[in-house]
Amino acid sequence: MTYSRRRTLALGLGGLFVTVVPMRVSADAQGLIAAFTGGAEIVEGALHITAPEIAENGNAVPVTVACPDAVSIRILAPANPNPEVCTVHFGPLAGSHSATTRIRMAETMDVIALAEMPDGTFVQAAANVRVTIGGCGG
């Protein structure tokens, strides 16, 4: 593969740090997405990721996902050695279809969320989180 990870990120950014449309992701991430969706079509929907633009602590990055009506939401950190973070299932009586967790992140990456909707379709969102060494702010 000739295009670098960095270029992949740049394609996805487009000035917004949260995108709700399917985006180009690495082959590894494609495989993880396909494993969850079973290859089903990914449609547009109201799946939102809330994550810091730059992680204050790469060992515990707070990430919130929310998607009204979702049956389940999976969170992926594709550049981690173990990219599957969690899958949250929502029962029919769930009051709020949102979840917050903290992710350990190995490096700067797009955190990806996938929501399975009641009709069997899937919604995808991504948020770029930068992991930096810090210092020098003034």
Partner: protein
Amino acid sequence: MISRREFFQASLAASALIGAQGGWSRLAAQQSVHQDDLLRFDTFGNVSLIHITDIHAQLKPVWFREASVKLGAAPVRGQPPHLVGQDFLAHYGLDATSAMAHALTHDDFVALGRAYGRMGGMDRVATIINAIRADRPDALLLDGGDTWHGSMTALRSNGQDMVNVMNALGVDAMTSHWEFTLGADRVDEIVADLPFAFLGQNIFDTDWNEPVYDPYRMFERGGVRVAVIGQAFPYTPIANPSWMFPGLSFGIREQRMQDMVNEVRAQGADLVVVLSHNGFDVDRQMAARVQGIDIVLTGHTHDALPEPLLVGQTLLIASGSNGKFVTRLDLDVRDGRMMGFRHKLIPVFADVIEPDADMAALIDAERAPYLDELTEIVGHTDSLLYRRGNFNGTWDDLICNALIQERDAEIALSPGVRWGPSLMPGDAITREDIYNMTAMSYGQVYRREMTGAQLHGALEDIAENLFHPDPYFQQGGDMVRVGGLGYRIAVDAPMGERISGMVHLASGDPIAMDRAYMVAGWASVNEGTQGPQIWDVVESYIRAQGRVSVPENTTIEVVTG
């Protein structure tokens, strides 16, 4: 009825903004400036805001040379606040020899400085604020933060000198950044007794993710409800040592900003002001994305702009740093809307503006316990010493030389902070001057080996913080200053491809990626850093030199495009 947009255009074309510029040109012709000229302002509308920011504990007048290199990321390059020198003067129609040109740009700094003198001094700032309050007694005084840090007296008194001065000045609200390097406990101790609002909608606790400080305060002014929302520096725990405030999380938190704007509007706010320490480019983006903000009082990036910058229907105000400027913004607010404004960036020429006697006495009292230490002459400089700019200034090179010499290192790293005043050729270098460049609560000088690859990685990482095309991913600060090391930077290249041509200056050899180099640096964000304080290292070096002369840095090649 005239639309708001039309009124803004009318205002920009015909208001005091243009008049003020004409005024500056006349002053230039006279080669003299008078207090009455600086303070002249036809009171307008029904609300006045006074903005000061990034004072960095500079109680006394200073020299402060503005940046000659302030590139910014590609999307905003060539636009304010990234214009410098002649481009800045041309954009705002300022005469090159005028007082305002001297205040706002670097060209001919030494020659014009001799004519116009130092700037700042909180006793002069007090005179200006008192004059504005004589016109409009209920003017709101808003401090954008980076106030309790930046001098020996602030460091030794844990910020108390600045707290006392700002209390006497009668601040109505502030936000924060370097304040937290005093430690969260000290901040809370000060805030508990603060007679004004300490605001930060984006400061949360890490355990429960709940807000820690008031997000906003509502004021009644001129029959108008004014909401002031605070925005602390979003990347404080990354840019500064988070172990000093371990329970706090910051971030931009754009959605909460929108929620707060909506909340204050629902409570009847006629005017929504964001008192921000985001940095200008972050504020520009936030103003475009968050709906309903009338005014953003920007901070952090130390930019001074002689006119407001309009983003949609939001005014962005940039009031400089180190006490050089006070912004007065008069507003006509009616029917829950901002109908018009009059703005003036007031330059604080210290030789022109009469010091306020009460404030001068208070400042002297705060300095008295340290006065002998502050005023001791350590050496002299034969060249202009300055820091401000994207890359090494001459003060930075002097500090890096001290690190290499005094700590027997091959390479030096010095933080790319924007604070730190200048010294003119011929000036004595006092201990106070050295502290003004270095004072901080984590000033220990480390000495450790780094491989060429680690150095490259560090430069790449910091360059990404500075030149990321999306402002929300910029961390603030300028490029780390380096000593003993030359490099080439392609600022618009992607991360990992910006830095090339790294050379070890002493030997002239290229930096070897797998070789270890002895590096001395300061301001590590890591807990438990061991070593002497940077101000002692610099003092020892300057004392040994007696006189210093530092040429402009030529070892960093900057490439754009």
